[in-house]
Subunit: 410 residues, 2 copies
């Protein structure tokens, strides 16, 4: 009896939803990671060479299992299919009949040649939600152009926002637009599944990376350009030089004091009560107009004591503040461990010995449906035989269709 049968109520909000995922690297796998953690049965359909991220995502402990691959693919099942071969198409066709969602980031021509357009799949399964994560929306002049995270960061204004602060274009130190648009796609897929409850039929959805990234940037930074041609762009509270973790005597601290109550408490906390009536700082509007001065006051004050002293003083004054974490100190944070998001995974290796690794878990809580037990990312093709058996293929057919050695692409 599986864990989910023992606790039927903790199978996740998406229990019963089947997702076919033909994507690789980050944007698609991030979308389906969320769905998998919420209980969807995500079938990762890997090409004969495997998801590129198996090799691109950092030095692996086992072949084909890079750290980034592990973290973006937990809770999924993997089957290797060559979608260009008759056998691959046959299995894909059967899978599509059983699925609620199909996700790809192929361009229209590739979908066409593989028989995987919305029209083709919905003819077999009218309830299927067909999600294409594209680089650029269909119909625009760049439609069909290749898109990768850094290209989208450079084109969408993400790098330009860094230039506003740093004086030169830089990328965000994440696969930011892939990662972000993956979350956007998971949301759009669930919205379309809800729409299906009303209409009775699935639909095709397109989630374009560039447009999503640009909208993300612009809704924060259109600023005065919203109202007038040539108007100032860039949120002044974010682009001002002192908007940064503030140096203390022994480290860094982050402080936030946006409301009038918080700002007055902050001036008391730093022993500058006279600033409470300074016309530059008396209201939200005044502090916004004088944001450089306001943030400079904060910077000067924080340099005078240690981080722990300031955290304590500011807490006493009800001013929100927290220390700054390095990547390594973050792992010792009691909240992160306490909430179960960061965990030591223990698994047996092929020799029966226990190995541990650091793993991540879904951060959100669902009081009724819960989340299912966490499972490690799949080896290449690990679940091929199991999935083929579920589709009703007998042993001979399974050998014919899925006889791939699980280590071939690793």
């Amino acid at each position: 009896m599986s864990a989910s049968e023992l606790r039927p109520e903790k199978r996740g909000p998406l229990a019963g939803i089947r997702v076919l995922d033909t994507t690789g690297v980050v944007v698609g796998p991030m979308a389906t990671l969320i769905l998998a953690e919420q209980g969807a049965d995500v079938i990762k359909i890997e090409p004969p060479e495997g998801d590129l991220m198996r090799r691109l995502g950092g030095r692996p402990r086992k072949p084909g299992m890079s750290p980034k691959f592990l973290h973006f693919n937990r809770n999924k099942r993997s089957i290797a299919l060559d979608l260009k071969s008759p056998e691959g198409r046959e299995v894909m066709g059967r899978l599509a009949e059983t699925a609620d969602v199909f996700v790809s980031n192929m361009r229209p021509r590739a979908l066409q040649s593989l028989g995987l357009t919305f029209e083709a799949l919905s003819a077999k399964n009218p309830r299927i939600v067909h999600c294409t994560i594209s680089g650029f929306a269909t119909g625009g002049p760049y439609a069909g152009a290749p898109a990768y995270d850094t290209i989208i960061q450079g084109l969408s204004g993400v790098a330009a926002c860094h230039a506003e602060v740093l004086g030169e274009p830089r990328f965000a130190p994440f696969v930011l637009t892939d990662h972000l648009v993956g979350i956007v796609a998971a949301q759009a897929i669930c919205a379309a599944l809800l729409g299906r409850e009303r209409t009775g039929v699935g639909e095709a959805i397109e989630v374009p990376m560039f447009e999503n990234a640009a909208a993300f940037v612009l809704c924060e930074h259109l600023d005065q350009r919203t109202f007038e041609a040539g108007g100032h762009m860039g949120d002044p509270r974010i682009m001002t030089p002192d908007a940064r973790p503030l140096k203390t005597r022994d480290g860094y601290i982050c402080v936030s004091a946006n409301t009038d109550v918080q700002a007055r408490a902050f001036f008391d906390a730093i022993g500058r009560p006279e600033l409470k009536t300074d016309p530059r700082f008396v209201s939200v509007t005044a502090r916004l107009a004088n944001v450089r001065d306001y943030f400079a006051v904060r910077t000067a004050a924080m340099a005078e004591r240690t981080t722990a002293e300031w955290v304590e003083i500011l807490r006493r004054h009800d001013v929100p503040a927290m220390p700054y974490h390095t990547l390594h100190s973050l792992l010792d944070d009691p909240q992160l461990r306490g909430s179960g998001v960061l965990t030591d995974e223990v698994q047996k290796n092929q020799d029966g010995q226990e190995e541990t690794m650091l793993g991540l878990r879904h951060p959100n809580r669902y009081s009724g449906t819960g989340v299912p037990e966490s499972r490690l990312a799949p080896r290449f093709g690990e679940h091929g035989d199991e999935i083929l058996a579920e589709l009703g293929y007998g042993p001979d057919d399974r050998r014919r269709l899925g006889g791939r050695d699980a280590d071939a692409a690793e």
Copy 2:
């Protein structure tokens, strides 16, 4: 007849879903912006002083309508309610009976004192999905501590990732964690609504900012620390100094060449075919181990020609590349205008004269359900009377309950 009745099929995937939103600033409004654009009826419940973002989000053209407020609140309706008053509670109680979703970022004690816990609301309406966006997950040591974007950026490793690249901690030049976790919350809400289709009842969901931000950072950057205590953290492909928009003779360009085919094509394109057989660069694994050298080759090559020349040459060789946009040049991008994400909104002001503003639209496409007509962000309390009338209140009650001057908080 309204536009949505004329085109019943284009009401959005979430048509028929009602959302009560008591949040302000960015994280909650971002969550409900997505739901509103997908057709949900989002009722923005504003306190007597209005959403802080009306004043904090940049210099407004009209009082209380800052640019950032405008962009994060389009397609919503606004009602002003003092939830601490008996009148406010009365209206809130009736609204809760009609709603599918309730969203807040109040701490548990505030929800308790206002009678807005999941237990209280589900007693009246068992199908309600009750979403709390918290700073820190309940149960951990920081639960209940105040959380703001910059504090979460500093604590969750976002600022630390910038330190890896820049040598000192910096914030991402966005309200990144608010903005991101808002999208996460919209996704979690839709997942819970799907769960409700199966279970028949709503549930409480918690979306903690810190845990979500830390998971975002760590699934990219745990790297070797996944496997061993003290192991290296930070994706080397992202943290390497030359991972940035590359200087050309007249600007910047972004290039991506990750697969073997792309890497070989890139070496041809820059006139260095001998590098195709250089052992440092012959495979994904080799280029990952020598990422500094690989990226340094790219940097050196790009300096030799103009952006337009390289874009043309790289396109001919099938190497993904795009120019870098500044914030202002982004607005002239033909793809962004062509796909309709950036539009000139024309509206009549109170004197009947036309005013224009730059507006944003939902970036995703839904072939069946579409998205509803876009509406501008609401003035403070703009829809109070209309919403009270829908709840069945007569004119006298509406005056008693909602007689707030729409400009009071602006």
